[in-house]
């Protein structure tokens, strides 16, 4: 085990210390950079470390503290960004050969908002290529290792971000979640990871994978830190026409003012069925802890439609990906491999630039969308999506928040599933329903499994139910068994 949450300390404490002049942002950022240099060689969380830019940004934060200006709620907090978030002039690779040397001409909206809040970007993190995967082994630059056990995967696709937080390199990171890519690695690495309501955080500058499912979200060591980061970067953005017009609900205030008294909570049978027994035991313990904290625990409920969620997801997401990734054609940016005519050039570029999993998803999606198969696959999957949304609506008429496992297993061994795509896809069975419905969900660490590796409990809420979701998550966190017990 290489460290754990700790390092710089929680973001709330770091920001408080920097805002009050107790610590300088430069000192905090230098410590984070040193931790990365010393420790990341054996983990591989980062694709790019932006030391120089980070120190300059830290100095700017310190200057505003000295001048008496408000340095922002995340003043001096080191943050790692998944490498599918565009950073102006800084390499944004999506862990793909096809974008290996690409420097975006603009920042993602979340990057600007982080900067405005005083946060300091220290680097870009490794991921499954184009966010397609559940282990971070599908990176063109090599796998990331789980800081809790370097023989295990960190989960994925935001495995670099989860590992960077779990190793204590940074207190906060951003990931993206299309089918569980924030929550599953958070669970496997023993950190908090949250996906907001679809439209809650601007996707402008997030390299698209499956646009109707993709959302950016925070990874953190504590629920309060995740809420702080969500609040700092959420809200409407005119550059993203799918971002919600209404302002986000103030989740940090809800956390400070309310416990879980009176909230109706139920475990979902389909989110614990087929899950390893040691993981289910932790979900049950979390439910017990919520009841003790004053929540109204209802009987386990069944949402049978969720059983079709994974199949629908693995038709819809590849279909959208096959369309989104058509843009990598060797013309405007990224890799080009020359050919005698434009079609040969496109083909040579894509063949050399994409890894196997990306090729599989593009082909699967192209097939699902092709004439003759559209109705049988894509059309059916879209209708299943409707059923999932309607079934959730019926459930939320009776309960405020739902509980389940985040991942059916704890972290698995490196290499265990790389040659079996379907086995890898099954890692996402508990997380995809929230993406299909566009609902928020969060994974909270809750003890360990029989193998001593972290277990994540998942809290799901209705659209825009982040406040209730965070309140329940905080109560679970407060009752979590100490690490190693």
């Amino acid at each position: 085990m290489t460290g754990g949450p700790g390092g710089t300390g929680p973001a709330l404490a770091v920001a408080h210390a920097v805002r009050t002049g107790e610590r300088s942002a430069r000192q905090v950022v230098e410590e984070a950079l040193t931790a990365i240099v010393d420790g990341d060689g054996s983990i591989g969380a980062f694709v790019t470390v932006t030391g120089e830019e980070a120190l300059a940004a830290a100095d700017a934060v310190d200057a505003s503290v000295v001048s008496g200006a408000d340095p922002g709620v995340l003043a001096g907090v080191p943050v790692a960004l998944k490498d599918n978030l565009c950073t102006h002039g800084i390499r944004t690779t999506c862990s793909s050969r096809i974008l290996e040397h690409w420097r975006p001409p603009y920042d993602a909206t979340v990057v600007g908002r982080l900067r405005a809040a005083g946060a300091v970007v220290v680097g870009k993190t490794n991921m499954d290529e184009f966010a397609m995967g559940s282990s971070t082994e599908n990176s063109a630059f090599g796998p990331t290792r789980n800081p809790r056990d370097p023989g295990r995967v960190p989960g994925g696709s935001s495995g670099g971000s989860a590992a960077a937080v779990a190793a204590g390199f940074v207190p906060l990171a951003l990931g993206s979640d299309t089918g569980g890519s924030i929550r599953q690695p958070a669970a496997l690495c023993g950190v908090v990871g949250m996906k907001p309501t679809y439209g809650g955080i601007s996707r402008y500058g997030l390299v698209a994978f499956a646009s109707s499912l993709d959302q950016i979200g925070p990874l953190a060591t504590t629920v309060a830190d995740a809420a702080l980061l969500y609040e700092a970067i959420g809200g409407h953005d005119p550059c993203d026409s799918t971002s919600l017009a209404e302002p986000p609900r103030p989740v940090t205030r809800a956390l400070a003012e309310h416990g879980v008294e009176g909230l109706r909570v139920a475990v979902v049978r389909e989110l614990v069925d087929g899950v390893d027994a040691d993981v289910v035991r932790r979900v049950d313990e979390a439910a017990g802890a919520l009841e003790a904290a004053g929540a109204k625990m209802l009987d386990e409920i069944s949402i049978p439609e969720l059983r079709y969620g994974l199949s629908a997801y693995y038709l819809l997401a590849p279909a959208e990906a096959s369309s989104n990734l058509a843009r990598y054609d060797g013309v405007g940016y990224g890799l080009r491999v020359e050919g005698p005519d434009v079609t040969a050039m496109n083909t040579a570029t894509r063949t050399a630039g994409f890894g196997d999993e990306v090729k599989r998803r593009i082909m699967l999606g192209t097939y699902a969308l092709s004439a003759g198969y559209y109705d049988a696959f894509y059309g059916k999957a879209q209708r299943v999506r409707t059923l999932v949304i309607e079934a959730f609506s019926r459930a939320y008429a009776q309960v405020d928040v739902l509980l389940g496992a985040t991942s059916p297993t704890t972290a698995f061994a490196l290499g265990a599933k790389v040659d079996d795509p379907l086995a890898m896809y099954l890692s996402d069975v508990c997380t995809v329903p929230s993406n299909l419905a566009g609902h928020p969900a969060i994974s909270v660490p809750f003890g360990v499994g029989d193998d001593g590796l972290p277990v994540g409990v998942q809290v799901l809420a209705n659209a825009r139910g982040e406040a209730e979701m965070f309140r329940v998550a905080a109560a679970i966190e407060a009752a979590a068994p100490a690490a190693g017990s």
């Binding site: 420097r103 001409p105 679809y198 439209g199 109707s212 005119p238 026409s241 799918t242 919600l244 059983r307 079709y308 994974l310 199949s311 693995y314 038709l315 013309v331 405007g332 940016y333 890799l335 080009r336 020359e338 050919g339 005698p340 005519d341 434009v342 079609t343 040969a344 050039m345 083909t347 040579a348 894509r350 090729k359 599989r360 593009i362 082909m363 699967l364 192209t366 097939y367 092709s370 004439a371 003759g372 198969y373 559209y374 109705d375 049988a376 696959f377 059309g379 059916k380 999957a381 879209q382 209708r383 299943v384 409707t386 059923l387 949304i389 795509p421 379907l422 419905a437 566009g438 659209a463």
Partner: protein, 109 residues
């Protein structure tokens, strides 16, 4: 028009020929070994999706997007775009402020 088209044969049976065709549509070149491997893997994934393909969903409306938002518009006002020189600097090949590509279609002159 896709609606009403009958799938040509069993929609779940995915063979080498289909994968080769799909790869060509997606502008991917596969070796013979890759074709074998991907055919097996994709057929397994599609077989898992057979539960969805087998459902009777008559009368259920499709969902393309989780949010009930439609026709989002903004005022049509000029505003700066990306810096042209910076955008072109990222391109693999450029000529006269344009993206340059190899010959499009036809036989070699």
């Amino acid at each position: 028009m896709r609606a009403g088209t009958d799938p040509p044969g069993d929609p779940v049976a995915l063979g080498r020929a289909e994968v080769a065709h799909v790869a060509k549509l997606a502008r991917l070149a596969l070796t013979e070994d890759e074709l074998d491997r991907f055919t097996g893997q994709l057929a397994t994934v599609l077989a898992h999706g057979a539960d969805v393909a087998a459902l009777d969903l008559e009368g259920v409306a499709p969902t393309a997007h989780p949010l009930p938002v439609h026709n989002v518009v903004r005022p049509d006002e000029p505003r700066p775009g990306l810096d042209r020189a910076e955008v072109l600097a990222a391109a693999p090949d450029v000529e006269d402020h344009r993206f340059r590509v190899p010959r499009i279609g036809g036989d070699a002159p």
